[in-house]
């Protein structure tokens, strides 16, 4: 059984991780890199209009009117600039950075796949067979537990955002994910009003307790950038989790069909 579970998890994790990497580079990486330019001070957002493409800061807006060439040169200058500013040690090449991002996305989604498949195995112990369709629902529930519910208290962080102490936020994040996953599982498979009440309490508790936050706001990037980043992180998360759940469910039903 362990082999079947690990095989399903590994394959689904790699498929979802590769999809996540594709979507990350298409939608998420650009606002993330732009935010780092504000974090490093290469770009400055102040009262006024910050350019949406991040190719220059407002101070050079006038120079930019001279034409496209100036913008391109500016972009190159800022690029070089941000690498200097960002450097703890030497700045890693973007190829290495992106390769690591792809690798870690596969790791993260393989980890999520293992947790999902462990859930499928638990369901089987209780006589419930999971296929692609149930897997899709499990995947969406996984998204709710590991991304959406934690995001209600700790919105996806743009680089450069200041936030409460990391350890405290991690504790809240893990607690919220566990409580939400358990709550959704009880709602889906539990019986009776007591179980439903317990499930609702588990779903609500993290948000009644509240995530650790700072007293004030000190972000340096434009709010529009943080908003589009958070929205894209959650949108991509939903798509990847849905594919992860569907794939894991389909593989699992194949693996267990003979058992």
């Amino acid at each position: 059984m362990i082999q079947k579970m690990l095989a399903s998890a590994l394959f689904a994790g790699v498929v979802a991780g590769l999809l996540a990497a594709l979507l990350q580079f298409a939608f998420v990486q650009k606002p993330l890199l732009l935010a780092e330019e504000y974090e490093s001070g290469a770009l400055v957002h102040f009262q006024g209009v910050a350019p949406a493409d991040g190719s220059h800061d407002a101070a050079t807006a006038e120079a930019d009117q001279a034409g496209q060439d100036a913008t391109a040169q500016d972009a190159a200058a800022h690029d070089a600039d941000s690498h200097e500013h960002a450097g703890e040690e030497a700045a890693p090449s973007s190829l290495k950075r992106n390769a690591l991002t792809g690798l870690f996305l596969i790791l993260v989604y393989t980890a999520y796949a293992a947790l999902l498949v462990a859930g499928f195995g638990l369901a089987l112990v209780y006589g419930r067979r999971i296929g692609a369709r149930e897997g899709l629902l499990w995947g969406i529930a996984g998204f709710a537990a590991f991304q959406l519910a934690p995001a209600l208290g700790l919105a996806p962080e743009l680089p450069g955002m200041l936030a409460a102490e990391a350890g405290a936020r991690q504790v809240w994040w893990v607690g919220t994910a566990l409580a939400t996953a358990t709550g959704l599982g009880l709602l889906a498979y539990g019986r009776g009003p007591l179980v439903v009440a317990l499930a609702l309490a588990l779903l609500a508790a993290p948000h009644l307790i509240g995530a650790p936050t700072l007293e004030g706001f000190a972000g340096v990037a434009p709010p529009e950038l943080a908003a589009i980043f958070a929205a894209r992180v959650l949108g991509v998360g939903l798509v990847v989790w849905a594919v992860l759940g569907w794939t894991a469910g389909a593989l699992w039903s194949k693996e267990t069909a003979t058992a």
Binding site: M1, I2, M5, L6, A9, A20, Q24, V28, Q29, L32, E88, R97, L100, T101, F104, L105, L107, V108, T110, A111, Y112, A113, A114, L115, V117, A118, G121, L122, L124, V125, F146, Q147, P150, A151, L154, P156, E157, L158, P159, A163, A166, G167, R169, Q170, W173, V174, V233, L234, V236, G237
Partner: protein, 58 residues
């Protein structure tokens, strides 16, 4: 006979539960390493992923 098959089912259920726990542990350990561990090497390597998948970072 019935008792035997009952005992057999109980054993296979126990081993299934052990498998479930093992795979859940593997998943949790992997998730901790990729998403939560604060070692600076791991943090730097996983930086973009942590930001882009909603983990608390820094």
């Amino acid at each position: 006979m019935t008792m035997n098959s009952g005992a057999l089912r109980a054993t296979s259920q126990t081993s299934a539960l052990v498998s479930v726990l093992f795979v859940a542990f593997v998943g949790a350990a992997l998730l901790f390493t990729a998403g939560l561990a604060q070692s600076s090497t791991l943090h730097d390597a996983a930086h973009d992923v942590r930001h882009a998948t909603g983990f608390p970072c820094h």
